[in-house]
């Protein structure tokens, strides 16, 4: 992808170079097949972990790379350009480490090097079958008895269900509403943590998504992250950052669709000339290119606010909303540019279009983003 990037440091440039090398050699050649088979690339994530790409925005003392979001997001974008499901996995994993990295006890943080190094894969358990958008009313309960919490309830749509080694679980330890929610770090091997059959998803098929039933799972009390009742704050904090991750994924995906469609339009001839020479198509491509550039700029602007320690949640919501809507439009238009060839699986654009849809839903639907934005007006 021919994107001019303004990077803050020389080391960021080298990180991006390493990312492109890994993505070109290890991700791009496998994406289509893994998507078709619905196979989760666990080993590739280990490789990314060993390469230092799974803990980028976390401090070096915990095994992270101490990179600003501005840089981390551009890494995500490069990954998403080759394989969205892997970029999403990196984003979800990075997010799943957030509660412990930011609010965890010293004991909990002892595990961070393994988490950030990718030996342990993480997942976030917030949504439930009866409620996704209205997360404050989640019903999974954790009852404290002595040195343990007993967790019961069902989480839904959990990315990495059945593959993850640990789950950051949001559950109710107190009364109704946001103030009754707490966060627990739960080992996947805990008896009573029961991942269910995988959902049959429209896209992102190499990324496993399933319900997880907590059937009186006993979790040691020292796995409580932050205090009781802090869980909702922790979740919202994580989601603010996670929205930036999804925005970056959307930019990468849209760029991939744009580049593929442009290349195709240069090669394909109708009426005796390349179809890109028809203004009807070249202007469509110009609009696509402009939207992708705008989505990138908005996303990185929000990231720079975060990096500067300024409030960024509303800007992150705008970036997630705009970038994922752009990804949907641009991938749909890319199918149009390829005509009939766009509608079949021999070209990746129909897959891009199916994948883009997820980005308008996850980490808060785009309606919820508008809610966040409008409330701040």
């Amino acid at each position: 992808m021919g994107v001019e990037r303004l990077l803050p440091t020389e080391e960021a440039g080298q990180l991006l170079e390493l990312t492109r090398e890994l993505a070109d050699r290890e991700l791009a050649p496998r994406a289509a097949e893994y998507e078709q088979r619905g196979e989760f690339p666990r080993e590739l994530l280990r490789l990314l972990g060993r390469s230092g790409l799974l803990g980028l925005p976390y401090p070096e003392e915990y095994g992270g790379a101490g990179q600003p979001y501005e840089v981390y997001l551009q890494v995500l974008e490069e990954l998403a350009y080759r394989w969205l499901a892997v970029a999403e996995a990196v984003s979800v994993h990075t997010l799943s480490c957030h509660p412990v990295a930011k609010y965890g006890t010293e004991l909990q943080r002892k595990r961070l090097p393994e988490m950030l190094g990718g030996e342990l894969l993480g997942a976030i358990c917030l949504s439930e079958p009866q409620g996704g958008s209205d997360a404050a009313h989640l019903t999974t309960r954790a009852v404290r008895e002595g040195d343990y919490y007993t967790v019961s309830g069902t989480k839904a749509w959990i990315t990495h269900a059945g593959q993850a080694d640990f789950y950051s679980v949001f559950c109710r330890t107190g009364g109704p509403g946001a103030s009754g929610v707490s966060c627990l770090l739960v080992d996947a091997g805990t008896p009573g943590v029961l991942p269910q059959a995988r959902e049959r998803t429209m896209g992102l098929r190499s990324s496993p998504v399933a319900q997880i039933v907590f059937d009186d799972a006993r979790v040691p009390a020292d796995r409580l992250v932050g205090e009781e009742g802090r869980g909702f704050r922790i979740a919202m904090d994580a989601l603010d950052a996670g929205r930036l991750g999804i925005a970056a994924c959307a930019v990468g995906l849209a760029q991939a669709a744009l580049d593929y469609a442009t290349e195709y339009a240069r090669e394909r001839e109708q009426f005796g000339r390349p179809i890109i020479e028809f203004q009807g198509l070249s202007f469509l491509l110009a609009d696509m290119a402009t939207q992708v550039a705008a989505a990138r700029a908005l996303t990185l602007a929000a990231a720079r606010l975060k990096d500067a320690g300024r409030p960024f949640g509303v800007e992150a919501a705008k970036a997630k909303l705009f970038a994922s809507d752009v990804a949907m439009r641009v991938t749909t238009d890319a199918v149009q540019v390829l005509g009939g060839y766009g509608y079949v699986a021999d070209h990746p654009v129909e897959r891009y279009m199916r994948e883009a849809k997820a980005l308008q839903i996850v980490e808060g639907t785009n309606q919820i983003q508008r809610l966040v934005i409008s409330r701040a007006l």
Binding site: E11, R50, S51, G52, A65
Partner: protein, 264 residues
């Protein structure tokens, strides 16, 4: 074990490569330069031996200033330090002169084991390990697809390689110190990690000139070369392929073709 890996910067064999029009040497200025692919396997092998037996891994490169990029890249995979022989007078050196310089540089490190790629993608002469071994009076085990190191407790080791041949392999052994060249069948090189890239910046790189090595400039470079490229021409455009028409014997013809190209 003290290991030195020879690393050469070469023009990317996947991109367009040229010879210079003025002196017929490899054009390194306008090319995208990378680590000679086979050398990455030598680095990987060195790191694995270090992981098993301890010791130090040093990268040795002879090349212009810009070969420093390849040295950093090599160091980002894990070696501890590097030696860079750089001198304007080295431009155009042939294999014989290069081996003289490398042997002198190796003398400053005193390695037990010297690892290198079986060939470089620009020169492809495959003689460097033999020349170095001859100059240093040590054994050369070349073309390894497997290398086993049995340490003897006294700091030395017995080296056993499977030497790849067209028919299969030969088992060859030598004791340290020795030169071992490897093919890309020997292992799967690791990617550098981001931490490795950061760490590489702080690793020591010793720069040596011809004067440091006590080698007169006249013995190396274009002037001192025993062989020279007198002229060169562009490769002729690709010919049309062979068409095999199946008249009941298509399979046989295909196999004959593949056999003639040594594919089967």
């Amino acid at each position: 074990m003290n290991i030195v890996v020879l690393v050469k910067q070469v023009p990317d064999s996947g991109a367009e490569r040229n010879l210079r029009s003025d002196d017929n040497t490899v054009d390194r200025e306008s090319a995208t330069n990378v680590i000679n692919e086979m050398d990455e396997y030598a680095i990987e092998e060195a790191l694995r031996i270090q992981e098993a037996h301890g010791g130090e891994v040093t990268v040795l490169t002879m090349g212009p200033e810009r070969a420093g990029e390849s040295i950093r890249k090599a160091l980002s995979m894990g070696p501890d330090k590097a030696v860079h022989v750089v001198d304007d007078a080295l431009h155009g050196s042939d294999a014989l002169a290069t081996s003289k310089v490398l042997a002198a540089a190796l003398g400053t490190v005193n390695p037990d084991l010297i690892l290198c790629g079986a060939e470089s993608t620009d020169g492809r002469v495959q003689v460097m390990p033999h020349m170095l071994a001859e100059r240093m009076g040590i054994a050369a085990l070349t073309g390894a697809r497997k290398l086993t190191v049995d340490t003897n407790g006294a700091g030395g080791a017995t080296l056993t390689i499977e030497r790849q041949t067209e028919e299969g392999y030969e088992v060859v052994t030598a004791s340290t110190p020795a030169v071992v060249s490897v093919w890309d069948t020997i292992n799967e090189p690791r990617y550098p990690s981001f931490k490795g890239i950061m760490a590489a910046k702080k690793k020591p790189v010793t720069t040596l000139s011809l004067a440091d090595l006590g080698i007169p400039a006249a013995e190396v470079g274009l002037a001192g070369a025993y062989s020279a490229v007198v002229e060169h021409a562009k490769r002729p455009p690709r010919q049309g392929g062979t068409k095999v028409v199946d008249e009941g014997d298509g399979g046989v013809k295909l196999v004959e073709f593949l056999a003639s190209e040594k594919f089967v």
